[in-house]
Symmetry: C2
Subunit: 413 residues, 2 copies
């Protein structure tokens, strides 16, 4: 049959456009309904209709779709005093979506599985000096940990919807490539592709800088909930930074924003792993903090040794107090520069800085008071993270879950 | 007569809302039409209708309104080859709106009047050491200069629509207060209120940081047209900074963003006017650049002495080259910190840095190559401003004009 173009073809584009726009509206509303259940807890279809302004039939149709997608489930009957037939309560599906947060850092590997309600369903932290293993060995091991986590969450009846890898360096987020991680001594490693080859499941996989992801975790579920403009400064083997401006992660034009650890605080200072001199992390990284005492940095013991430092400081050990004051001073100098440039609301101290924050904060405060132009009115508050070493993997898993919550239809069964 | 509330009052809110929304649309369209003439040059009503998608009758009505507001005028007959009656051409009114940019800096006062087409209609630059005159004397003199400019533009048949004052320190933009200007040694001066008392005309009056306004001038009419993410670094008696992110001026949570001159580059360095130590401007400000040679800083001669420095450098005078390399090095250290944090597309060197940029740039480039994590892919281009000492007053006048272009109805006759 020959294709003919009757006069009615003049109308073809219109229904097509309407269809696509209707689809967009439906996808948007699907996210709206899911968000009600995720963020506000179990509720009935009638309550959702009331709170969203959508009509009941639409809500019922959207809820059915979310149930089919395995994201929402009925969980009993509504208890209420008003007249009318009580409705079924809806909650995040107990056997629903789960996301993996993965992390390669200099001295550990981390995995966390988080379900839609924000609950941890699996976690693992393996300390090891990843500088001493080859890139392949590290990726092999992370893939094993990830595969183990996937088996475990599947055994719990959960459905993995994606994984994000946190990395300690500059990340090309589009391509999933770690461009450079001076402390790890990795350059141009296609982490996402390499992990995809090693994990059997076909799972959406992303990568991002570890401090960026930890900053998002602080914003979404940490001490920075409700704070729109802050920097997350994280003590690791290096020093990481993640900048949140206007409630969003700030990446900058080239995508490498927030590189706080390589801020120069002493132009002719010690040589840094990045081949510059006097970077903040040469003066505040964990190795300068713990020094040579106790021998070379045994990675398994890093957290324990920071705890020992804190205990000594609490016992007024003058050597420990001096080390902490010096670290706080350099942090304060660098944070003063950040605040003069970004005019922030708060600073969040994470990683190894968190358990020693009470000793760092006074020295930081002193430098901020001296160095921030505008005095009191311009000096931000300094708060300590409470997420511990899991901050980055929490943020990593949460970015995957937020992708699903924003557009539930992206999950196909 | 007693007010009565008939049943029809139930409908009152609806027409009111529609009226207000219609008004908003009309105001928006008024700006749309004015922008065609301002940004694209003289054109006919028919061309405007074609380019905006508004119908001809609407365009005619909006044009009449713009003519009544004195913003647009007819300027001859359209020359065209097509059939139909040729229309009147419309252009920015030669006797239309003009805005004042004013500046108080440490060693000069500046005034510029810019008309809607972007042309300068009056300019004055008065060099004087404003540290030696009292606040009142400086404000008196700026008000005299501003009043003179207003008389002059009125004599040209122009209508002043507002003025913005550029200030060398932290500005509370909402209140028009200069909070602190260390080099000027001013604190908490209500510049806008004080100027309003001194200028007889009732004119919209604003204030902002001089480097912020200069950065906007670079974005709108300088070397940074088309560049969305850059920092403007300006050599003055101090060192100023203005940050443009995503094509907008970045102010930060507390409004004091971009304070580049007080970045610490040497923690125990020379005492700064701000009472901190080792701020960039103690090492790169004009006084350290010109040193004590030629006696104490005679402000009238600053620009001339920078020109002498450039001439000596061009003649390979080793002392001049050393001074410039040292200045470039410190600038490079500080800019490296900015780039690591903000991941910028470009750096614009303005003020006294512009005429010596060819000697500063190599040293800056060397430091950026060493200190910016990510190497070549992360290092921004470094360009010199061509706006000269007028950058801030140009930006100041342009902010007022852009306010009118966005909402022409804000100008009442």
């Amino acid at each position: 049959m020959t294709a003919t173009f009757p006069e009615s073809t003049a109308w073809t584009p219109r229904p097509a456009i309407e269809f696509s726009s209707q689809r967009a509206v439906r996808r948007h509303n699907l996210g709206l309904v899911l968000r009600q259940v995720v963020e506000r807890g179990p509720r009935s279809r009638a309550t959702i209709a009331l709170d969203t302004g959508l009509n009941k039939a639409t809500v019922s149709r959207l809820v059915s779709e979310l149930i089919d997608l395995g994201l929402v489930a009925e969980c009993g009957i509504e208890a209420r005093a008003t007249v009318g037939r009580p409705g079924h309560m809806l909650a995040v599906a107990g056997e629903g979506a789960v996301a993996l947060g993965l992390e390669i850092n200099v001295d550990y590997l981390g995995v966390r599985a988080t379900d839609l309600s924000g609950r941890s369903r699996y976690r693992a932290l393996e300390t090891a000096d990843n500088r001493l293993r080859g890139t392949d060995a590290v990726l092999d091991r992370l893939a094993e940990l990830a595969s183990g986590a996937l088996r475990e969450v599947r055994a719990q009846g959960l459905r993995p919807i994606g994984a994000t890898v946190a990395l300690p360096g500059l990340v090309d987020v589009e391509r999933g490539v770690l461009l450079t991680a001076p402390n790890l001594r990795w350059n141009d490693v296609a982490v996402v592709d390499q992990l995809r080859d090693r994990i059997e499941e076909d799972l959406p996989l992303d990568a991002d800088n570890e401090a960026n992801l930890a900053a998002l975790a602080e914003l979404w579920e940490g001490v920075a909930v409700g704070i729109s403009d802050f920097m997350y400064a994280s003590g690791q083997v290096g020093v990481g930074g993640g900048v949140i401006l206007g409630g969003d992660l700030f990446r900058g034009y080239r995508g490498f924003g927030g590189e706080f650890g390589h801020m120069t605080v002493e132009a002719d200072g010690p040589l840094c792993a990045c081949s510059s001199r006097g970077c903040l992390e040469t003066l505040c990284g964990i190795e300068s903090l713990l020094g040579s005492e106790g021998g070379p940095l045994a990675t398994a013991a890093t957290g324990r040794r920071v705890a020992v430092l804190a205990r000594r400081a609490r016992a007024s050990d003058s050597e420990a107090l001096t080390v902490l004051a010096e670290c706080g001073r350099w942090l304060g100098v660098a944070l003063g520069n950040v605040v003069n440039l970004l005019s922030l609301e708060a600073i969040v101290l994470g990683g190894h800085f968190a358990p020693i924050a009470e000793w760092l904060a006074p020295a930081i405060g002193e430098e901020l008071d001296t160095r921030v132009l505008g005095g009191n009115g311009a000096v931000p508050s300094v708060v300590a993270s409470t997420l511990g070493p899991e901050a980055a993997v929490r943020g990593a898993a949460a970015t995957q879950l937020r992708r699903v919550i924003a557009d539930p239809a992206c999950v196909s069964r």
